[in-house]
Symmetry: C2
Subunit: 438 residues, 2 copies
């Protein structure tokens, strides 16, 4: 990571353990260079995202600190079910806290069973080892009762996080009573935000916030559509990066940057310029979120010569799909629209979850993908258990599926690579004339 400013006094003030934080940033910078900067033929406008990642613990954190100094609240969340719109409506800043690194696992396991998913261990580890400036910069950290792991881990985390903390309740089913649970959660969240910020949510500020987030989502939809071209104009890794930064960056600047990227990609598509030749095996990733800096599986997939063209994932389609209807005239109407948008998200924590498999198949078809790789974090019961059902449906639709369970460690990289290579080879055989096979 390039640093032009000395952020160490800020980090120190935020209570970070500077030595451990140095070690984390060094590892992060190294990984980023290896995975991203080594890619060939990247869009020039990815430079913005390289800058953001270079400043992920620097400039962006300073912005949060400055925002708080200016009287705005900062709210951290772990999940796509926490509506950024409400935070923006009270003039706050919303940042994603989902940690994607194998850091502080030993410390985390003092509080968590070993059979806890890597994502939960990671945010415990980051907190316990004092290396997350985002958590430290928050006025409020918000959990949500999605999976058992998070639901119960938050009971312990509440005492460790050192910030105001609240948990949004979540339903298991998409019943009327289930919707009432989500609505109650969002009303409670809105009330807490108003209380914390001193700003009342009005039809005006909520409409503006909805538009701000819709614009961000629209830009991501544009990016998703451009990736449907063959040759695809951007690597899956770079597109994942944009999806990851979606949760961190200032929304207006982010939208502009994604649109700049899309302008460049449009030209590429028109000129049939891609990151890989036309006919390259195209993969959609489906499953668990890939939080920064979890680039493990996409890096493996693209190292085999395939290209990732879509993500049916929280960091991807589940975060960006659908817009909130911002046409309501009252806070009540707008809240209903907000609940409707989020209630439609087809996370595997719902039962049954009948739209996810057809949705994944549709993404695969829209993206002209040859295959789907289902990614589940080890010990993530909802996604692991839904995987065979999704596999069956998607394969019925004619798209082969490879199911992989993994975590954030590097131990299984070669094993995964072997399985992905075999899958890509199989897809290559099915999609191209024999003469063209390597």
């Amino acid at each position: 990571m390039t640093e032009t400013t000395d952020y160490r006094p800020m980090w120190s003030e935020l209570g970070l353990d500077l030595d451990k934080h140095d070690a984390l940033l060094a590892a992060l910078g190294q990984a980023y260079g290896d995975v991203f900067l080594s890619q060939e033929n990247r869009p020039e406008t990815m430079g913005y995202f390289d800058f953001v990642m270079g400043e992920i613990h620097g400039l962006r954190v300073k912005e949060l600190v400055d925002a708080r100094a200016a009287g705005r609240i900062v709210v951290g969340s772990f999940c796509v079910f926490v509506p950024e719109e409400l935070v923006l409506a009270v003039g706050g800043v919303c940042v994603g806290l989902c940690a994607g690194a194998d850091f502080g696992t030993e410390a985390a396991e003092r509080y968590l069973p070993r059979n806890t998913c890597a994502l939960i261990k990671s945010f415990f580890g980051f907190t316990l080892e004092k290396v997350c400036p985002y958590i430290s910069a928050c006025d409020l950290v918000v959990g949500e009762n999605t999976c058992d792991g998070k639901k119960k881990a938050y009971e312990t985390f509440a005492d460790l996080v050192g910030r105001e903390f609240m948990v949004l309740d979540m339903p298991n089913t998409k019943s009327g009573e289930g919707r009432a649970i989500l609505k109650r959660a969002y009303l409670d969240f809105a009330a807490r935000l108003e209380n914390l910020s001193g700003v009342t949510i009005t039809a005006e500020n909520l409409t503006a916030a909805i538009e701000l987030v819709n614009a961000k989502r629209r830009a991501m939809h544009r990016l998703a559509r451009l990736r449907q071209a063959d040759p695809t104009p951007i690597s899956g890794l770079d597109a994942l990066l944009a999806n990851q930064v979606f949760f961190y960056d200032d929304p207006e600047r982010f939208t502009q940057s994604v649109n700049n990227l899309c302008d460049e990609l449009e030209k590429r598509v028109a000129q049939k310029v891609g990151v890989a030749p036309a006919g390259t095996v195209r993969i959609v990733i489906s499953g668990c979120p890939m939080a920064v800096p979890n680039w493990k599986l996409p890096a493996i997939v693209e190292s085999t010569g395939a290209v990732i063209v879509g993500e049916e994932s929280c960091i991807g389609e589940r975060g960006t799909q659908n817009l909130v209807d911002g046409s309501g005239d009252t806070v009540g109407e707008l809240m209903e629209s907000l609940v409707d948008r989020y209630f439609a998200v087809d996370c595997a924590v719902f039962t049954p979850n009948p739209t996810r498999a057809p949705h994944t198949l549709q993404i695969a078809k829209d993206c002209r993908a040859h295959g789907v790789i289902h990614f589940a974090l080890q010990f993530c019961a909802p996604y692991q258990m839904e995987a065979p059902l999704l596999e069956r449906e998607v394969e019925k639709g004619g798209v082969p599926v490879l199911r992989l369970d993994t975590d954030y460690s590097t131990e299984d990289v070669e094993q995964l690579r072997t399985r992905v290579e075999a899958f890509v080879e199989q897809l290559r055989g099915e999609s191209e004339p024999i003469a063209h096979r390597s």
Copy 2:
């Protein structure tokens, strides 16, 4: 297991795999003999429970088959949140299906991730290997959205079970909206039962059903109180057996049998007759359910010379605690009382779950226990994650806690025994003068 009748034609008609079923029964009979019949100084009235266990796949199943032939419905469930009262109200028979044996695990793992708890693998295994006459004898099998594992496994199980199947939704929190979820589930369940049986639930039949189950619970409360005596008049294993049979047996006969047992135990208490000398280390077990034939941990604990005097468990206090207020005049009022009783159960799937730790401490104090052993099934995130919080609270109250995670395999028996022995030794040291220590 003694068999006086040839049940093989019935098992065959129920679609069981007779060879595998023979193997299961042989193993079960062997285990029962080793664990239960080898105990010394058992109450004579435990003879009834020995008979029930000897006929668990025989006479009791025949009763279910006969009940169906007589036009009654048979409903199987996996959880204390499925209200037997509603099944009884429509004249049906309710049986617990929670399987507690390491059987068919390999078959189960074709459908489930390896990191699924033993209980879920067990009911998949029993179904896939065709060795459970209870499932085969059911008109309706009922699941419930408690943990992620069950919630998502039921989506697959629905296609495997071969019976009508429904899932009751469950809340995560004890909010008003959470209660509405449970009420909706019970109303849907009642409607399904009425539809299936052709019997309408009335204030009369529901009141009678509530009284039938309350009587069963009252008998178990009586048993729980008698175990508070020192010396304790019954082993933890035998009391667990009564708690297990609670879910299987005809309710009226069961209540009478527990009351007969209690009559005998009352005499023992008056005469200071116990299964172990006064002053023996007394243990309360807290945590996950122990379904038949999961007697592993209690057998280990009592083999160390300690005695189990209470169970804060689904097969125990969580199944038997509280009565339903049967004073309502209308079905609506009675349904509200039913929801109230079940909504008070403090299962670890709720968040927060603040009453469970004080409740466990209270049980320990009431039972004059020296220590609590927390039992979690491996991969059961709710109980594993709640364990350290419970440990902290209970120890704050002056009662030491040992936390154990295990499954149904026998691989870790010696390791568990070593840890339990050390804990019991520690409690012995704390509770008795040095001179008395072994």
